[in-house]
Symmetry: C2
Subunit: 224 residues, 2 copies
């Protein structure tokens, strides 16, 4: 298996080589990390009795490890542990609208990671991963929260996959219409997509007089 967790270009595993539209592929570890950090969540695929399954999950990256968590009774974690898995994370940046039916698609940045997940049992590493998972969806929130208890930490399973065999793929720029289509009277271009937050819905049991932090109200991401 080709190691992809250094910053030097190196040989690429044929299993993650981008074949279709290969000019959109990249094996730059910095780009892989960036996309994983940008994507709000990821998908994990695993095989059980010959049947593939894919489930959405929150993830976080620390150095060259990608972490997931769940309850000790979480079936997805149980079924993926120690087996080959595939993780995919994508940020869709814009709709790409061309002048023909063929040329309507999306711009995106996407990562695929192949590997095997192992369980994290060391207390400090579990704690750091759990905190990082929260900070990714709500930056700055950890210091406000009631800390994890040992019982909570023990009831949580944390798995990690090394970023060894992985690749990135991206599409950017305008539609690529056929030569003759550029004369058509059809608007063409990119429509950027962003995620915004709406009006917060306070917990019905919220103590009176507590307002959400400004950072939670102005949260915005380019790409979805």
């Amino acid at each position: 298996m080709t190691t992809r967790n250094d910053d030097a270009p190196g040989p690429v595993s044929p299993r993650v080589r981008v074949r279709r539209k290969a000019d959109r592929g990249s094996y730059d570890p910095a780009l892989v990390r960036q996309i994983l950090d940008e994507a709000l969540m990821c998908r994990v695929a695993f095989v059980d009795d010959g049947q593939p399954y894919v489930l959405p999950t929150l993830h976080t990256r620390i150095d060259d490890l990608l972490y997931f968590h769940g309850s000790q009774r979480n079936r997805m974690l149980e079924r993926m542990l120690g087996k080959p898995i595939c993780v995919e994370a994508t940020v869709v940046t814009s709709l790409v609208l061309g002048r023909s039916v063929m040329e309507n698609s999306m711009n995106y940045r996407s990562v695929v990671v192949l590997g095997t997940a192992h369980e994290i049992t060391e207390r400090q590493e579990k704690l750091e991963a759990m905190h990082a998972l929260v900070e990714r969806i709500a930056p700055g929130r950890i210091p406000e929260l009631r800390p994890l208890t040992d019982a909570e930490l023990n009831s949580t399973r944390v798995l990690a996959v090394p970023l060894e065999e992985c690749s990135a793929k991206a599409r950017t720029g305008p539609p690529m219409d056929r030569a003759g289509d550029y004369d058509l009277d059809v608007w063409a271009g990119e429509i950027p997509l962003s995620v915004i937050t709406g009006v917060p819905v306070p917990d019905p049991q919220l103590k009176p007089g507590i307002e959400p932090r400004e950072a939670l109200l102005t949260w915005r991401r380019d790409g979805i």
Copy 2:
């Protein structure tokens, strides 16, 4: 295999039964269809030489068939054709922020479909699927576009998976904090997430004087 494409409740395949937090599960065909229609894109998982892969793709649903498309040379379509696959589509509706590290998650609606994809070769069905795929990302656009040619249609592969073995799962509502945590001076509740469009980026080769339709500028979706 349990058939799930009627509107009557029926027995549920054990492979798609929601086990973890089973109260969040549903096998209502109307809900499954609604979530598939809401989700901008989906993920398809397949197995190749024992290794699972998952890739993001656009989809569209017509009646109880879920369609994907790509080039005739598309490797994902080639590798998934006739084999067991898993399709997953998720709409994340809000961040759910509780008072402890354990209670920070997301509200979502999610669908998992198991099945086998078959190729659509009938011209009219291919055409309808291709049009529906564009209309889903850019409603009202098909009448503006240069129609598909036979050569384009022939160069495109359309696959379909029946919505037979599938289930939905959803989380709604506020965080479920531990009894003692409700006294903490921490804001808790839900932060709704939406997708909005940004300022359109015209194709550099756009003919002068063509403006995008209003519907493209005001496009918005609740949930991401």
